[in-house]
Each structure stands twice: as C-alpha cells, then as structure tokens.
Symmetry: C2
C-alpha cells in the first residue's frame, strides 16, 4: 500500500523529520559509548574533530563546521578549556575573534578515541552496504539543496 502522500500528515511516527531523527539516533548509539567512556558529548567530540582537522579556528568558523550555534559553542569551549583540552588565544588582526586550538592533551584524546569511531563507521558501512550509503549521502545532500533553494525563494 502506498503512503498517504499529498493528502494529510503522514502517520506521524513515519514523518520525514522523525525518520531522519530515528536514523540519526540509531547511528549515534554506536558512537556514543566510546565517547562517554572519555567523558565527551557528541558535540564536544565534533569540536575536537574539527580542531584536529585544522587548528586555530575562530568560533564562528567552528560553529559552521560543527553545525553548532554560537551560544552552545560558547559553553562547550568554556568547558573544554576548563579541562585543558583546548586553548583560546586572541586574533592579532581582529580583537573580536577568539582563536581555538587543541592542547596536547586534546590531540592525545583525539588519537585515543578516533580508531574506535573509524571501526564503528566501517562496521555500519559493511552492514548497510557501501553503495547504499553513498546513495543515502547523495539523497540527503539533494534534499537539503532543494529545500534551501526553496527557502531562498520564500525569503525574498
């Protein structure tokens, strides 16, 4: 039987936002335990990963890359700073900017956790299938693209 597309709200536990939320939660369930063992939230881990890819990012850039809003990021960095996993310095060129970097302890923690994350990701890829996973990425990207271009039209 075909879903009730275009007529009424989908049986709501199968709505698009819910389907995306469930999928995300299912995936995260695989990654979170190894983070919790190291007292990291998934958001804190995102920040550490971003800084591992490139040191010395300002908070706005970090927010873009980690998909975090600035108020959250502000608190997260304060927390990581307290635990001496990151350091904050001030931009010479622009005194508004904070520049964030991993400390040695932060880099060490990244290296400790990363292998387990890679392993779990590979396990998902294997179970689900590489081709399907790539297809899923493409569909998600296209969905975002289509919605955002629509957004642009409605925002004029």
């Amino acid at each position: 039987m075909v879903a009730t597309a275009g007529k009424e709200l989908r049986g709501f536990s199968r709505s698009l936002p819910m389907a995306l939320l469930r999928a995300r939660e299912a995936v995260m369930k695989k990654f979170i335990p190894s983070l919790r063992e190291n007292d990291l939230s998934s958001q804190q881990w995102r920040v550490i990963r971003a800084l591992n890819e490139e040191q010395g990012l300002d908070i706005t850039e970090l927010g873009d890359r980690c998909f975090l809003l600035m108020p959250s990021l502000s608190r997260i960095i304060r927390n990581l700073e307290k635990r001496i996993l990151v350091t904050r310095s001030h931009s010479e060129a622009d005194n508004r900017r904070s520049v964030i970097s991993l400390t040695l302890a932060g880099e060490k923690l990244f290296k400790k956790i990363a292998p387990a994350s890679v392993e779990r990701y590979n396990l998902i890829t294997e179970k689900f299938g590489y081709g399907k996973l790539e297809l899923l990425y493409e569909l998600l990207d296209e969905l975002i693209e289509k919605i955002d271009e629509d957004q642009a039209v409605n925002t004029r």
Copy 2:
C-alpha cells in the same frame, strides 16, 4: 574521486550523523515557523499530533510514538497541561499510569496548524520528487534495521 571509506574518519562535516542532522534541520526549518507562531516547540507538536491520532495514551506509549525520553515528556506534558492543551487522568486498572488526552483547545490548535504542515510537506515532496522521497524513507528504515540488528549482537 571516491570518499575515504574504510580508511579514516570522513571529512567530518560530511560524516553520516552530520549529514542526517543537516537534513533534519533543513526540513525542520520549513515547519518550525508555523509552530512558533503558535508558541509550540517541535516536540510539543509531536505530542499533540500523537494524541490527535489516538487519545488517552499513557506517557510510556507517548514516548515511544513521539521518540521522546520520559523526563522530557514529563516536562512537556506539565507545560501543555498548564496551557490547558492536554489533560491528565489516572488509569483505573493501573494506578501508576497517567492517561493523557487533548482538550478541546488542544484539538482546535491541531486543526489550526495541521493544514500549513501538510502544505509544507507537499512542497518538499514536489521539490524533491515523490520517488526519491520514498527511496529515502526505505534507505533510512533499512539503515536503522541493520544498525539495530548489529546492536542486538553486540549486546548479548
């Protein structure tokens, strides 16, 4: 060029959890404004939708259907109760259970908001394509299924 599957962590702003998060946020951006106009969070709206589909659910069942944890749900219901959008009564058969229903005001609010949600969902379906959307649902379901069956194995 092919992604770095099976070697290291994906360029992390393109990781699977991030892709799912971004997609969900993109979708929600279309629905949230009409909810905010009526002072509802997306979670509160989920509860109202679930109760519109079936009245008199207990909190555990509501949590399953809305994909909310009980502590969140506890607060959400307290809030909606205060605004007289839902009512709580007690199960005769089991004194531990609260039974939640929409009030008339709650039903009225649902009827007020639902059309706009349907419209926005149809717009997304149209933009993205019905076939692709169905394919996306299937992939997400299958992803969850594969991950959860793996979870079962690891939990033994």
